[in-house]
């Protein structure tokens, strides 16, 4: 029952066997849920859930000038990274907008490992490859086919992964990674994630992915760890206030508009798009991405219009992401609003199927776990 043109990860058979409802996402056939989005979401918040994120892309930047190159294409400052650190950043267009958001991992002084969104992998690599062609001392490689990626996320993640590896997981702090073995197979083990919980992202060779997946579920099953799909991944990341490329950020948005000034380091030197961003930092922006909660009933969804007053005909912004929040028990979302309306506590209206429903701007994140010492 393969949809024509869709790729499959090495874990496809595992998903089908576990009852996964397979859907098209980013060019791949992926599980949106196995049992229920709400159950999988709750499992991650209270125990742990296991996600197949093998569809994500991996790009290696290598050479004596690797750091210079990464500094140029990214808005964040990677010059102070030590080996084994990861940083979130934007891959930038000259307009100061996002080609993608990504994680940069420093493997060595001359090796940086970029992890990018599945839907953008080909676009990102073409962009980076093109820039590298005219840059000295750097080569780039699309290594996406060489890695499967599993994300084990939730308060029990460390407890479940520890028996499967000799690596001391407690020594891996947040946004750090190491090379080790999981269930005997070589792996990159990173304490990163997209859920707002503690957890790990494990990169292994595709031929070993199924074994590692099964080993984690065998170890975690008795503790209530279940596979979790893309539906729960979306509700979890939204609660955690994390952006989704294609929804909240895209090629028309800058990090300043998106509330991501913290990944912009103007004083690191020049980078693609720097002058636009610098101007925005100095002069301000017309619109800002905010988090909001619904006050009236109804779920605000991607693409719904935002109004300043219920009788307004003209929208002033758009909902970029929205769903029912299982943890908060109410609808939440993100939207671009005019800067003056983008203040916590300010009300606005969302047009839901022709009716104006009241919403209120709130600070992000909607949910954050208590900080654990890793």
């Amino acid at each position: 029952m393969e949809e024509s043109g869709l790729k499959r990860t090495p874990l496809f058979d595992e998903h089908v066997a576990a009852g996964g409802k397979m859907v098209s996402f980013g060019g791949f056939e992926m599980p949106v849920q196995y049992t229920s989005i709400l159950k999988e979401h709750t499992a991650v918040r209270t125990r742990a859930g296991l996600f197949d994120v093998s569809h994500m892309g991996e790009i290696l930047v290598r050479g004596p000038k690797a750091l210079d190159f990464v500094q140029k294409i990214s808005c964040n400052d990677h010059s102070k990274m030590t080996e084994g650190r990861a940083q979130y950043t934007g891959l930038m267009y000259p307009e100061g907008t996002f080609v993608d958001d990504m994680l940069v991992h420093k493997m060595a002084d001359d090796e940086y490992f970029l992890v990018v969104n599945a839907a953008n992998t080909d676009k990102d690599f073409a962009y980076i490859d093109d820039l590298a062609a005219t840059a000295e001392g750097v080569e780039v490689f699309n290594q996406s086919a060489e890695y499967a990626q599993l994300a084990l996320q939730g308060p029990l993640a460390t407890e479940v992964l520890a028996p499967l590896t000799e690596t001391d997981l407690s020594a891996i702090r947040y946004y750090r990674f190491t090379r080790g073995r999981v269930f005997g197979h070589e792996a990159i083990i990173a304490r990163t994630g997209y859920t707002g919980e503690d957890g790990f992202e494990v990169y292994v060779a595709p031929e070993n992915a199924a074994e590692v997946w099964r080993a984690i579920l065998a170890e975690g099953g008795p503790k209530g760890v279940i596979p979790a799909g893309l539906g729960a991944r979306d509700t979890l990341r939204l609660e955690a206030g994390m952006c989704l490329y294609g929804n909240d950020i895209d090629r028309t948005t800058t990090p300043i508009e998106a509330g991501l000034s913290w990944i912009v380091k103007l004083d690191k030197g020049d980078f693609i798009g720097r002058d636009v961003i610098e101007r925005q930092v100095e002069e301000g922006v017309d619109r800002k991405l905010v988090g909001f909660e619904m006050v009236d009933r109804g779920i605000a969804r991607h693409g719904y219009a935002a109004l300043l007053a219920p009788d307004d005909a003209e929208p002033v912004g758009l909902v970029t992401s929205g769903t029912h929040s299982p943890t908060l028990g109410k609808p939440i979302g993100m939207a671009y609003l005019p800067t003056e309306a983008a203040e916590p506590g300010r009300e606005f209206w969302v047009s839901i199927r022709g009716q104006a429903r009241r919403a209120v701007v709130v600070l992000l994140p909607f949910y954050s776990r208590k900080k654990k010492k890793a």
Binding site: S36, I37, L38, I299, R301, T323
Partner: protein, 126 residues
């Protein structure tokens, strides 16, 4: 699974149970399964008039919104208020506690019996 034989069905997956000149209306097991977990139900106002096939309200799941339609022409006389706090009843008990509205029926036509509805579902899920 086969649907209850004492009910009538629409092509849009609503069921109707006659109780004198009143009818209880809900969505079928198949419909709730397609929808996923219902987190919000928007019910019509009591007193609202609707023709057969007219939209009565909406059911929202995490991922989607789905309308439900009047199986017959008439007036809404009661709505299931429990669904405001327990929208999951639509999933857990679609033919019972998950009922949506009660209507006073004026006109009725083109409804399917259980066997015809089972065939429809078999075709749709092929």
């Amino acid at each position: 699974m086969s649907v209850p034989s004492d009910l009538l069905y629409t092509k849009t997956h609503e069921w109707m149970r006659r109780e004198g000149d009143l009818a209880v209306v809900g969505i079928t097991h198949y419909a709730q399964d397609q929808l996923g977990e219902v987190v919000y139900v928007e019910l019509p106002e009591v007193g609202r008039s609707a023709g057969p096939g007219e939209e009565l309200g909406t059911l929202e799941s995490v991922k989607a919104v789905s309308e439900f339609f009047a199986p017959a022409g008439g007036e809404v006389v009661e709505v299931n208020e429990r669904l405001n706090d327990e929208p999951n009843l639509v999933n857990d008990d679609p033919f019972g506690g998950g009922w949506l509205v009660k209507m006073r029926i004026r006109e009725e036509s083109g409804l399917l019996d259980a066997a015809a509805y089972d065939r429809l579902v078999a075709e749709e899920s092929h």
